[in-house]
Amino acid sequence: MSREPLFHEALLTPYHAFVILNAGALVVSLLWPDPRFGRSLFLDALILLQGILSLQVGEAECGFGPRPPEKTLLRLTGLGAMALVLVSPLVLVHRAETAATWPAVVLSMGFLLVHGFVWSLVGHGMPRVVRSEGLRFLAKYGGLALAEFLPLGFGLPGSGLATLRAIWEGHSAGWSGAVLYLGLGGLGALWLLRSGRKTS
C-alpha cells in the first residue's frame, strides 16, 4: 500500500489560486487611489480567501476516508500552515507598504492560523451533517459570508475581517475576535477528537 501524500492533487489548484488571488489583491490594494481603503483591502481578501481555501481543505480531507482523529487534526493544521507559508512573502510586502509592526504581523499570522483551522473543521464536519452537495455548497460559503459580514453590520466581535484589521493595526479591539476563534478552534478540536474516537 502506497504512503498517503501530504499534499493531495485535488488541493493543487485551490492552493495555487489562493496565492494568485492574494497577489492580485495585494497589487490592487497598493494601486487603490485611497490608501486608507487599500490598507485593509489586502487583509480582507486574505481572510476571505483563506476561509474559502480552508473549507475546501477540510472537505477534501474528509473525502479521503476515516483516519485517526489526531492525524486529521495534524493534517488540517499542517495544511493551514502551508497556505500561510505560501502567502507569507505577500504578507511581508504588505507589512512594508503599510508600516505595520512585526508583533502585529506575527499576531496576524497566528490569528490566520486559528481562523483557517476553524473553517477547515467546518469543511471537514459539513459532509456528515449535510448530505446534499448543493445544500452543502450553500451552507459552506453562505455560512462563511454570514460569519464574516454579519457581525460587521451589528458592530459585534467575531468577524474575521474586523479582527484581522484590528490586530494588523495594533488595536485592542481585535482581541475579542481572536479569543472567540481560539475558543471555537479548541472546542472544534475536542469535538473532532471525541467524535473520531467514538466512530473508530
Binding site: R36, V85, E97, T98, A99
Partner: protein, 387 residues
C-alpha cells in the same frame, strides 16, 4: 458658569481648585474657549504636584477622542496661581475632569459639568451696560486671539490698547470674527477637503520595478513546486518559498528606513496683523506612533470616526507641547495662532489647488498664495498673504 470645588488633600494639606470654561461660563461648541484653572494652597506647607485636565469628546457611536492637559504645579505656602488654557470644546464634551497628583498620589479629583452653546456669541469690549451679549472688561482682554474664537462679532465701546487691537485684528483675519476694526479674512475652515488631500499622500511609493517581476516570478515558480509536492517531493517548493521569503523580507526591511510621516503646512498672514499668523498643519502617518509639536494646537475633527483622535498638551521648560498620537492612515488637521511676525520665506506664487480652495473660505481674489520650499517630512507647504 463658574464652577468651584474645594477638597482636602491627603496628609492634611488643603488644596482649592476652581475651574471656569468659556466667556461668562458659556463655552461654545467646536471652537477654542478660555479655561481658567485656579489653584490655591491655603496651608503653610508648599505644594508640589501635577494637574491633569481631561475632557472626552464624542460618543461610543461617533467614537471618543480624549483631550488632556498636564500642568506641573508648585505652590508656596498660601500660594495661588491661575492658568488660562485655550481649551477646545467638541460635540459630546459635557464634563471636564480635573485631577491633581502629588508624589504619585491623587489628592484631588472632580468632574465639572459644562453647558455648551451651539453658536458663536456676540460680545462687547467696554464698560458694563444694557447689552444682551457678553461684556469683556479691557483688563481681562486675552493675549491669544484663539481665546476670542467663541465670539462671532465684537463691539468695541471703549479704549483699547494697541496690543488688544492687534489681537482683535488677528481674530478677524484668521478666525472669522467681525468688528468695526476691519474686514474678515478667513471666514471659515472646512477640514474635510484637506483631510482627503492628506489621505492621498503615500510617503514613499512602492518599488514597482522589484515588486511586479518578483510577484510574477513567484506565482510562476509555485506551479511546478506545488506539482512536485503532490508527488511527495517538497524540495522545489521549499526552495521557491524560502527564496521569495528571503527576498520579501529584504524588501520589507529595506522599506523600514522610508519616511513614514507626511505633512502639509499652510501658513496664513495678513498685512493688517503684525504680531500673529495662522498655521494649519495636516499630518498623516503610516505607522502607529506619536509626534510632539511645539506650542498649543487645536484639532479640527472629522464628522465621525473620532476614536483614537486624542491630543495631550504638556507644559515643560520650553512652554507647551502638543503630543499627537498617530494611527496609520488616519489624517490629523491641527491649527494654532503663532504669536510671531510672519516672515515670508520666498516661494513662487501659484494658483490655489482645488482642495485648498475648498478648505479655506477667504477672499482668494485679493490673497497671494506662495508654494514654499518643503521642510523635512513636509509634502507641501503654502503661505497665504491676506490683504
Amino acid at each position: 458658569m463658574i464652577l468651584l470645588a474645594f477638597l482636602l488633600g491627603v496628609s492634611g494639606a488643603a488644596l482649592e481648585v476652581g475651574l471656569e470654561v468659556g466667556w461668562a461660563g458659556r463655552p461654545v461648541l467646536s471652537v477654542v474657549n478660555p479655561l481658567w484653572l485656579t489653584l490655591s494652597n491655603p496651608s503653610p506647607q508648599p505644594f508640589s504636584g501635577e494637574v491633569h485636565i481631561r475632557g472626552t469628546a464624542g460618543s461610543p457611536w461617533r467614537g471618543e477622542a480624549v483631550r488632556t492637559a498636564v500642568i506641573p504645579v508648585f505652590l508656596g505656602a498660601w500660594g495661588r496661581t491661575v492658568w488660562v488654557l485655550p481649551w477646545s470644546i467638541y460635540q459630546g464634551m459635557t464634563t471636564i475632569q480635573v485631577r491633581v497628583f502629588s508624589r504619585g498620589t491623587e489628592v484631588f479629583a472632580r468632574e465639572f459639568s459644562l453647558q455648551v452653546e451651539a453658536l458663536r456669541l456676540p460680545g462687547k469690549i467696554g464698560p458694563p451696560g444694557f447689552w444682551s451679549g457678553i461684556v469683556i472688561s479691557p483688563a481681562d482682554f486675552p493675549q491669544d486671539p484663539l481665546l476670542l474664537w467663541p465670539f462671532a462679532e465684537l463691539e468695541i465701546s471703549g479704549p483699547l490698547a494697541p496690543e488688544g487691537k492687534e489681537v482683535i485684528r488677528a481674530w478677524q483675519a484668521f478666525l472669522g470674527g467681525r468688528s468695526a476694526l476691519g474686514p474678515t479674512g478667513v471666514a471659515s475652515i472646512q477640514a474635510e477637503p484637506f483631510r482627503q488631500r492628506l489621505s492621498l499622500l503615500r510617503p514613499v511609493p512602492p518599488i514597482w520595478s522589484i515588486l511586479i517581476p518578483g510577484i510574477i516570478l513567484y506565482l510562476v515558480a509555485l506551479g511546478p513546486g506545488l506539482g512536485r509536492m503532490v508527488r511527495g517531493r517538497s524540495g522545489l517548493l521549499c526552495a521557491v518559498v524560502l527564496a521569495f521569503l528571503g527576498l520579501s523580507l529584504f524588501y520589507s526591511l529595506s522599506r523600514e528606513s522610508a519616511e513614514q510621516l507626511s505633512s502639509i503646512a499652510i501658513r496664513i498672514s495678513s498685512k493688517s496683523v503684525q504680531r500673529f499668523y495662522l498655521e494649519i498643519c495636516g499630518l498623516i502617518s503610516w505607522r502607529l506612533g506619536e509626534i510632539a509639536l511645539p506650542g498649543w494646537w487645536h484639532e479640527l475633527l472629522p464628522h465621525r470616526g473620532w476614536r483614537g483622535l486624542d491630543l495631550r498638551w504638556e507644559y515643560g521648560p520650553d512652554g507647551w507641547t502638543t503630543v499627537v498620537p498617530l494611527q496609520p492612515g488616519i489624517p490629523r488637521v491641527l491649527l494654532r495662532v503663532v504669536p510671531e511676525e510672519a516672515r515670508v520665506m520666498g516661494g513662487e506664487p501659484v494658483p490655489p489647488p482645488p482642495w485648498l480652495w475648498e478648505t479655506l473660505d477667504l477672499p482668494w481674489g485679493e490673497a497671494l498664495l506662495r508654494r514654499l520650499p518643503t521642510g523635512p517630512r513636509e509634502a507641501e507647504a503654502f503661505w497665504i498673504e491676506l490683504p
